[in-house]
Symmetry: D2
Subunit: 344 residues, 4 copies
C-alpha cells in the first residue's frame, strides 16, 4: 500500500538524520538555550525580515496553537476563525479548555474574509452588552487552509488591517506553511507573514522534520512570560536543541522550500489526472491536499493499492476523499497513482 | 567543559539513531496507532506484569504529569506530594493551571511517608467542612526523587495501602525510573510499580531517548477518554511511532536498564571520591544525582573544567551543587572528575 | 416611564419581604444547612415528584448554569444547545471558561429538536476521530426559550429519549420556569421535568424573588461533590436560608405559579393589541416576552412613555423590540400600554 | 441556644429591611447600573479617599476573592498569602481552579510580614529558573485575619512598599473590615487601604448586610474588562441595586462602623471574662473573634447553652474553640455568656 493519506506518515528528511548523527556525541544546554536554537531563530527572523521578533520551538501544532493563543489572550477574549478551522474541529476543544470561546464564521473554501471578521466585531460592539461579553481579540487563519487553499496577499492584507483597526491579534497557523509557499499561484512570502501577522508558525512535522513547529512572535513585547506559558503546558522540550537543529537544517539551504514545492507539483500531477477523468474536486486546491469526489467503485479500486483519507459520503453513490502528497512522496509513487487514476 | 549538570544534555543512545535510520523510508499510521507503539506497549506491560494495563507515550515529563493527573481527577480533587516534588517546584504550576490544589507535605530526603499522607487525609475528613473542600484524591511520588533518593518496597507498599484505603490514586513520576531501578540498594521492580501504583511512567528523555515518557495506567478502566485528554493538551504526537520505536529499542534487549545502572555506578565512584576528601553530601543518594557541599574555592576549581548545577548557598563560604551522571557519561569523564576531586 | 424592558426590574413579592421581616431576629446555621432550605427542598421535590432528587440553591442563573454543567462534565465533554441559547450568547463564555466546548445548533423559534441533536451526536461518532474529540455529553435547553417559546411535552420527551440513548445529560434552564408553566398552551409540569430531565431549575430572580435559582438534580448520585463545586465557584451563600426562605414562601401556597401566570395573561393582552394594529411578531410567543417589529416612528412614540428592549434593526425603517411583562406588572400598566398601542 | 458560632447567623440590620420595603415598588435598571450602586460607589470612594478608584459589588466573599484575583493575574502569576489565609484553607481551591498557584507562607498570629514576602520574591528571582516559573504577582492579606488579629499601619505600609518594589498587587480581603476598623487598638482607616492597597473590599455579609461585598479597585486602569470577568463567573447580580442599597444604607450614616465596633466591645467583655477565669487565648485578638482553650468539661458546660465553633483538640483534655460576636449580638446575650464563663 502506498500512503497518500496525510503528510506526516514518514520520518524526516535525510539531512536531519545526518545532523542528529553528527551531533549525537555533543553536549548541549537544556530547554532550548543552545546554539542550534539560536542559529535557527536568527535564520527564521531573517527569512521573515522580522529582526524585532522572537522564535519559540514547539513539539507539536496543537500545542503551538493553544499555548500561543492562551499566552496572548485573557479569559474574556474570544477567537475568530473559520468554522472549518483546525482549532475548531480537530484539536479536542483545546482552545475552550484554555478558557476561550471560539467564534466560528462560515468558511468559503476554508477561508474567511476581512468583511466577515469586521461584521462580527461590529456585532460585538453594537450588542449593547459588550461590557459583559468576551471580546473578539484574535483572528486565527491557516496557511494552507484545511482544504489546501491559500489566502492571497490582498486577502491577508485586508484581514491584517481589520485586526489592527480593532486591536486584535492576527495568528497564522502554518503547519503546512511550506506547501503554501511552494504553490505555483501563491503570492505570499515569509516576510509578508512577518509584516502582516502578529504571530505565525513554520510547520516542521508535516514539512520534513520528525516533529516541531517554529512559532514567530513578530512584535517585541508579545513574548513577555511566553516561555513560562510554554513550560506550564509542557511545551518546553528538555532537549530543545533537537528542534533548533531540525529547523536550521531544513531551512539554511532551502531544503524546506524545495521539498514542499515538489510535493505541490506532485499534487498538480494528480489533480490533472483526476481532471482528465472528469472527476470533480470539492474545492480547487493549488497545494498538496486534493479533495475529490469519487464514486464508491472508484474509491474501492484505488483503495486496493493506496491509503487515502475518507472525508464522508456525498450522496448514496459518491464519497469525498483526500489525496495528500508530502515532502517524502516519490515521483514513482505519483506516476503509479496517476496511471491508476487514468485507468479508472 | 565536561557536563555533569544534568542527564539530558546529550542526544540519544546509538541504537535509537540506528533504528530511526533503518525505518526512515517506512510509512506509518499517525497518532500512535502503529506497530512500534503496539510492540512497545506489550513489552512494557510484560515488564510491569500488568496485562490489564494501557500504555500512553508522551513527548515530555511535564505533560505526562499534568495531563495524567488532570485526566484522573475532577476539579474538586487535590494532589498530595512532597514539598520538593517536581510538580510543586519546577513545572510552572501546571497542576494548578489544570485546576488542582497541591497539598505539599514536608519531605524527608525528598520523600514522604504513608503516615504523613494518612494524617493529611484524616485532617481533611475531620475538618468539619470536607463537603466544601477539595478532597485529597491522588498521591504523587517520584522514583527517583528530586534528591536522587529511593522509596523502598516497604515504603511504597505502605503508601499504596493508604491510597487504596482512602480511594486515592497513586501516581509515580518515573522520569528517572532507570536510575532508580539500577541502584545497588534498590529493591523495587517494574512489576512492583505495576502492582502498587495506579499510574506510573518510564522515563525516556533522561534515560537514553531523544525524548518521551511512557505512562502506564495499571487499571483497565482508567484510560476512559484518556487519549482525548492527551489530544486536548497537545500531547498526542502526529508521528507517534517515533516514541514507540525509542522505547521498544531501549527496552527490548535491556539497554535501558544497563545504561542507567552504569550511570549509577559512575555516580558511586564520584561519591566515593567526595567522601575520601571529607566533602559532605546534602543527602545520601544511591543514584545518578549527587548533592554535595563544596567550599567556594572547591566549586570555583571544579567549575573551570566541569559544568554542574548550583543549588544555592549553604553559608557564606559554602554552596550546594549537584553532579549528575547520565546514560551518556563515559568512564574517562568520571575518571577525570574523580582525579580532580581527589586533587582538590 | 413604565418598565416593560425585562422581568427583573423590581424587588420581590411582598410575601418575601414579610417573611424576611418576621425572621430577622432568628439565628440560622450557615451555608444552606437550615430549616428553610430543608422545607423548600422537600416542597420542590414533591412538586417535581422526584423524591430521589436533591435541590441546590444558587444566587444567580449564570452560576446555576455553568457550575451545574461543569460539575456534571469532564474537560473532554461538550454541550449541545441552540445557537440562541443563553449560555452561548449572554454569559460571557462562562461554559468555555470552565473548559467546555459549546456545539451550537441552528434554532427554530429559539428551540432545537431531538433530530438535530441526534444528527450532531451521530456526526461525532462517525467522525473517525471520536477518540480524540470532545464528546457531546449534555443537552442544554431553556424553558421558556430566549424568544419566549415553549417546548411541548412531545418535544421534550423526544429530546430526553435521545439524551438517554446516547448517555447525555438533559439540563433545563428554568430561569423563566414560572412563565412557561403559566402559559395557556403549555402542557408540561414540574413533574415532567423531574421525569425527563437530569437537571433543571426553578427560577427565582425573574419570578418574584429578590434573587436565587433552585437547581434540582433528579438522579440520586449526580450530586456527588456538587456542593464542593458550588463552593469552588463561590455559589454557596453564607446566609443560605435567605434562598430557601424565598422559594418556600413563593411556592408553598402557589404564589409563584399565580404571579407568573398573570404576567403571561398580561402579555397576551399586549400581543392582542399589537395584532389588532397589524404589528408583526418576530416569533409567536405564548409567554411573558413579546418580540414585535415596530416602525422607527412607532418605537419612538412608545419610547416616550415605556422602557422596552431594543433587539436591533430589521430594515432601514423597522426595529425589533421586546416587551416583557413580569410578576410585578400591574393591570393598569398593561391597560395604558394597550391603549397607547391601539392609538399608534 | 444562643449562637456565638459566627458573624453570619442573622439576617440584616433593620435599616436594610426598611430600605428594601420602601423601594419595593420602584423599578430599576439591571446589573448594577442604577442609582443605589452609583451612590454607594461614590460614598465608598469618598470614605476611602480614592476618587480615581472603582467599586464593584459582589454577592459573596469567595467570588470577590477569586474573581478579583483572576481578573488581575495571568495564568503564570502566583499569589502569596499566609498559610492560614481564607483562600488557602476555606474556599475549595477556587484560586487554583482559576489557574493560580498559592504560595503559602507560615503565619504569625494569622499574619505575614513584609520581610517574609520579600524573601519569597527574591527566592523566585534567584531561582535560576524564574523565566520558567509562575511569578509572585499578588499578595493577599486579610483584615481582620482568620485569628481576628490586625495588621498595623506600619506593617501594612511595609507590605505595600514591597509589593510596589516588585510590581505585585496588594489585595486586602475585608470580609470583616468593620470589625477591624472598630477595634480599640486599630490604627488603619479606609483611606489607608485606598492608599496602600491596589484592591480591597468592605465586607457586607458579616457586617450587617443580608449579603454582599464591595470591592474597591484603587487604580484607574485596573478595572479593564473587570465586569466581563465578574459576568463570566456569574458574579453580576441581575438586581444589582439590592447590593448598592445595602452598602449605602449601612455606610451613609455610620451604622456600619457603629455596629461592628459594638461587636468588638462585646468580644472584649467576653475576653475579659475568660481572662478572669485564667482561660488561655490561642492568640490575642482585639476583634470580634476570640479563640480560647477550654477543658473538655468547660466546653461541654458552655455547649449546653451556646453554639460556638470547635477548632480541634489541643491535647487529650483541651479543645480550642471560637466565640464570635456579631453586629447582631445583643448586650444581654453577652451578659449571660460572661456570667456563665465566670461560673465555670
Amino acid at each position: 500500500m502506498i500512503r497518500f493519506n496525510n503528510d506526516y506518515n514518514h520520518g524526516a528528511h535525510a539531512s536531519i538524520l545526518q545532523a542528529l548523527a553528527q551531533t549525537n556525541d555533543t553536549q548541549y544546554g537544556g530547554y532550548g538555550v543552545d546554539d542550534w536554537c539560536d542559529k535557527a531563530e536568527k535564520l527564521i527572523l531573517e527569512l521573515s525580515r522580522c529582526p524585532q521578533g522572537k522564535v519559540y520551538f514547539f513539539p507539536g501544532a496543537t500545542q503551538a496553537n493553544f499555548v500561543t493563543i492562551s499566552a496572548l489572550l485573557g479569559s474574556c477574549d474570544s477567537v475568530i476563525c473559520a468554522d472549518t478551522g483546525h482549532i475548531n474541529c480537530h484539536e479536542c476543544a483545546s482552545i475552550e479548555n484554555a478558557g476561550h470561546k471560539i467564534v466560528a464564521l462560515p468558511h468559503h473554501d476554508g477561508k474567511i474574509t476581512a468583511e466577515q471578521i469586521e461584521g462580527e466585531v461590529q456585532a460585538y460592539y453594537n450588542s449593547g452588552e459588550a461590557e459583559y461579553l468576551t471580546r473578539p481579540s484574535l483572528v486565527y487563519v491557516s496557511f494552507t487552509t484545511e482544504y489546501g487553499t491559500l489566502y492571497t496577499k490582498a486577502e491577508l492584507t485586508a484581514i491584517s488591517a481589520v485586526c489592527r483597526k480593532y486591536h486584535m491579534y492576527l495568528f497564522v497557523d502554518g503547519a503546512r506553511m511550506g506547501y503554501g509557499l511552494g504553490a505555483a499561484e501563491n503570492d505570499l512570502t515569509l516576510a509578508d507573514f512577518g509584516r502582516l501577522a502578529d504571530a505565525f508558525y513554520i510547520g516542521g512535522t508535516k514539512c520534513g522534520a520528525f516533529f516541531g513547529e517554529a512559532v514567530v512572535l513578530t512584535q517585541p513585547d508579545m513574548g513577555r512570560r511566553f516561555k513560562a506559558h510554554m513550560k506550564q503546558f509542557g511545551a518546553v522540550l528538555a532537549k530543545g536543541w533537537i528542534l533548533g537543529l531540525q529547523f536550521y537544517t531544513l531551512l539554511h539551504d532551502g531544503t524546506y522550500f524545495a521539498i514542499t514545492k515538489r510535493a505541490d507539483e506532485y499534487a498538480m500531477q494528480i489533480r490533472d489526472a483526476f481532471r482528465q477523468k472528469g472527476i470533480e474536486e470539492l474545492v480547487v486546491s493549488p497545494t498538496n491536499q486534493q479533495f475529490v469526489i469519487l464514486s464508491q467503485e472508484q474509491a474501492r479500486k484505488l483503495g486496493q493499492k493506496y491509503v487515502f483519507e475518507a472525508e464522508g459520503p456525498v450522496d448514496d453513490d459518491h464519497v469525498c476523499v483526500r489525496f495528500c502528497t508530502s515532502w517524502s512522496t516519490k515521483q514513482e509513487e505519483v506516476d503509479q497513482l496517476v496511471a491508476d487514476i487514468l485507468n479508472l
